[in-house]
C-alpha cells in the first residue's frame, strides 16, 4: 500500500513541480507585465503545492528523503508527471492552452481528493483547491478571449490545441496502484473523471470557437514513468544542475 501511495503522491507532486517550473520560465518574458505577474503567481502556487505533495511522499516512503531531495536528485525515469505538463512552453497561446488542459483536470482531481480517507491528502487538496479554482478561471477566460479573438490569436490557439490535445488523455488511464488507492477510498480512480473533463473542455472550446481534434489517440508513459518525452530531461538538467554540481548548496 505504501508503494502505491508513494507513487500517487509523486504523480501529484511531479505534475505541479514540472508545470510550476515550466510556467516560471516565463518570468520576465511574458507579453505584458500583468500576464508576467499572473504567470509567476501561478508558478509559485504550483511549487508551493509541490512542497506539500513531495514532502508527504518522502514521509510515506520513510527513507529520510525530503521534498527537495525528490525534486532535485531524481532522474527523468523516476518522475511521474503527465506528458502534458512537460511539453515546452511554445508561444504564449500554447502555454495558456496547456495550463487550461491541466487546470481543468487538476480542479476535478482536487475536488475529489478533499474527501480522501487519508486526512493528510484531504488537507493538501483543500488548501490547493482554492488556488486551482482561480488558475482555472484565469486560464479558461484567457483561452476563450484568445480563441474567440483576432484571426491570428484564433489560429495560434487552434494550433496549440491540435498539438496538446493528444496529451490530455493520459490522465485517465488507470493502473494497479490507482485501483489499490481507489478501493480504500484514499484517491479517486482516474478513469471516473474522464467524462466530466471532456464536458468541461468541450464547453470552453465551444465558447472559444475552437475545434477539438478528432480521434481518441492519447500519448502515454509520463505518469507511469515508462516513456517521458525528450523534453523532460532537458528541463531537469536546467532545474537540477545547481544541486547536482554543488550538492547541498543553500542560500
Amino acid at each position: 500500500m505504501n508503494a502505491a501511495l508513494f507513487e500517487f503522491l509523486c504523480r501529484m507532486g511531479d505534475n505541479t513541480l514540472v508545470l510550476g517550473h515550466r510556467v516560471s520560465e516565463w518570468c520576465g518574458h511574458a507579453p505584458v507585465l500583468e500576464e508576467d505577474i499572473a504567470l509567476a503567481n501561478t508558478a509559485l502556487d504550483l511549487i508551493g503545492q509541490t512542497q506539500m505533495w513531495l514532502g508527504l511522499a518522502g514521509e510515506v516512503e520513510g527513507q529520510g528523503r525530503s521534498a527537495d531531495d525528490l525534486a532535485y536528485l531524481r532522474d527523468a525515469w523516476d518522475f511521474r508527471c503527465l506528458l502534458l505538463v512537460e511539453q515546452p512552453n511554445g508561444d504564449f497561446g500554447q502555454t495558456i492552452m496547456r495550463q487550461f488542459l491541466f487546470d481543468a483536470l487538476h480542479e476535478l482531481q482536487l475536488n475529489e481528493l478533499r474527501a480522501s480517507k487519508d486526512d493528510r491528502i484531504a488537507g493538501i487538496a483543500e488548501k490547493s483547491a482554492k488556488e486551482v479554482a482561480y488558475h482555472l478561471e484565469r486560464s479558461s477566460e484567457t483561452v476563450i478571449a484568445l480563441g474567440d479573438g483576432t484571426e491570428e490569436s484564433h489560429r495560434r490557439m487552434q494550433a496549440a490545441l491540435d498539438v496538446l490535445w493528444p496529451y490530455a488523455g493520459e490522465a485517465f488511464l488507470d493502473d494497479e496502484s490507482d485501483r489499490a488507492l481507489a478501493e480504500t477510498g484514499i484517491a479517486v480512480l482516474p478513469s471516473t473523471l474522464g467524462a466530466a473533463y471532456g464536458a468541461r473542455v468541450r464547453e470552453v472550446m465551444a465558447e472559444a470557437t475552437l475545434q477539438l481534434p478528432e480521434g481518441t489517440f492519447a500519448h502515454s508513459g509520463g505518469r507511469t514513468g515508462a516513456r517521458h518525452s525528450e523534453h523532460l530531461g532537458h528541463m531537469l538538467a536546467q532545474m537540477q544542475w545547481l544541486q547536482r554540481a554543488y550538492p547541498g548548496a543553500v542560500w
Binding site: P31, V32, L33, E34, I37, A38, N41, Y134, E137, R138, E141, A145
Partner: protein
C-alpha cells in the same frame, strides 16, 4: 507609456490597444477603497483578475474596484492656486480639537 511603436512600423503595440484601469482596493471591512495604482487590461473582468494578481498578492484586500481611467474627471494642476490656497491658514477648519473614542473605529 508611449502610444506609438518606437520602431516606426505601423504595427501598433498591444499596450496601446488595451485601456488603462485605475485600481482601488479595500483593505479591510469598514475602511474605504484606496487607490493603489493602475494597470492595462482589455475589459473590466480581466482588469479585476489582473488587479488580483498585481496588487493583492500579500493579502491586501477584501474588495477590488477597477475604473476605466477615461471615466475619471480630474482637476487641472494649473488651477491649484484658486482651488486650494484659500484653505490655508484657516486652522479652525481642521477638527483636531476633538478626542475620538476608540470605539468609533476608523474615521
Amino acid at each position: 507609456m508611449t502610444k506609438t511603436d518606437p520602431s516606426g512600423s505601423d504595427k501598433t503595440s498591444v499596450r496601446s490597444e488595451w485601456p488603462l484601469w485605475e485600481i482601488f482596493i479595500r483593505g479591510q471591512h469598514g475602511l474605504n477603497h484606496r487607490h493603489v495604482g493602475s494597470l492595462h487590461a482589455p475589459d473590466a473582468e480581466t482588469a479585476i483578475r489582473n488587479a488580483r494578481d498585481v496588487y493583492t498578492r500579500r493579502n491586501e484586500g477584501v474588495s477590488i474596484w477597477a475604473v476605466d481611467a477615461r471615466d475619471i474627471a480630474a482637476s487641472s494642476p494649473s488651477e491649484k492656486g484658486p482651488l486650494y490656497d484659500p484653505a490655508q491658514s484657516k486652522v479652525y477648519r481642521h477638527p483636531t480639537f476633538f478626542d475620538i473614542p476608540d470605539e468609533a473605529g476608523p474615521m
